[in-house]
Amino acid sequence: MKKEIVKQAFIKTIPVMAGYLVLGVGFGVLLAKIGYGPLYAILMSVTIYAGSMQYVAISLIDSAASLISVAITTLLVNGRHLFYGLSMLEKYQNIKRKPYLIFGMTDETYSLLCQEESKEEDYYFYITIFNHCYWIIGCLTGNLIGTLIPFNSAGIEFSMTALFVAIVVEQWLTTKDHLPAILGFVSAIVCLILFGPEHFLIPAMLAIMVLLIVIRKGGNENE
């Protein structure tokens, strides 16, 4: 039974494995370039475990940014995770290993778990820890031997985009109410145009929240 859950979780995480290994290797190489070795690669991938933030961290470390600006940058880059937690509150109620599951809730882990209807705790746990392991292995490998990899892997990072596209299509096919998906897409595009690629996520999330609340009110009045 347990074996079955581990297997299910593993299969589910294969796309993330491809993405994380590539992004992790990319991070490891960059970290090595500014002069930090495997210990730092392990420390960062284990304790920070946030893909895009670790890329930003490289330039923060390299420029010896003050702790205040490090904290503010982290808030801005990772602020979106606040909203992930909001939608996992009910699912993660009464779960023993909750602290680790919350700690490990990256974009990709969230994307795999938010579509699941009430699965067993073990399933959530294995998905989270498998993804964390891929990330650590990727970062470490890149840091140690990244520049030696002969295979032309240009474009393989698209697996992450493909994962999100497949999830959106799947959700579209299984739900009747398509308004949240359309709102998310349109808000993101509008905010991308208004605020640019570096700063659009937080305004987009706020716009999505406000719009979702507004359409809910509208819906109630019609009833």
């Binding site: 698209f158 493909a162 809910r216």
Partner: protein
């Protein structure tokens, strides 16, 4: 590299990231029943966020210069079409990624 300042920076990033991830649970944990609005958002946010993340992944694509984001568009369509026909997540991702890699490396 020979001082401990980078370590402090890493600890700061780690703590702030955890703060962000844990705060919804810390704020709402004590309540027996979640406020209606929060449990409503919990149901509709995931779909909206996933659509947003697709845009996030493609945010650096420049559609004003050649090839106008066509490679990304083609690969996204391959994933979407394949998924509509086969409903197999892994298959959609693998084929879409191979298609994108070929487009990037050959053209």
């Amino acid at each position: 590299m020979n001082n401990y300042f980078p370590l402090l920076q890493i600890i700061t990033i780690s703590l702030v990231t955890m703060l962000v991830r844990f705060s919804p649970f810390l704020i709402f944990n004590k309540q027996e029943k979640l406020p209606d609005i929060i449990s409503y958002l919990g149901k509709v946010l995931p779909t909206a966020i996933m659509a947003m993340l697709v845009v996030y992944c493609l945010k650096d694509v420049n559609i004003t210069i050649f090839p106008y984001g066509l490679k990304e568009l083609i690969a996204v369509l391959v994933v979407a079409m394949l998924h509509i026909y086969k409903r197999n997540t892994l298959l959609s991702i693998v084929c879409g990624t191979i298609c994108y890699m070929l487009l990037i490396q050959l053209f």
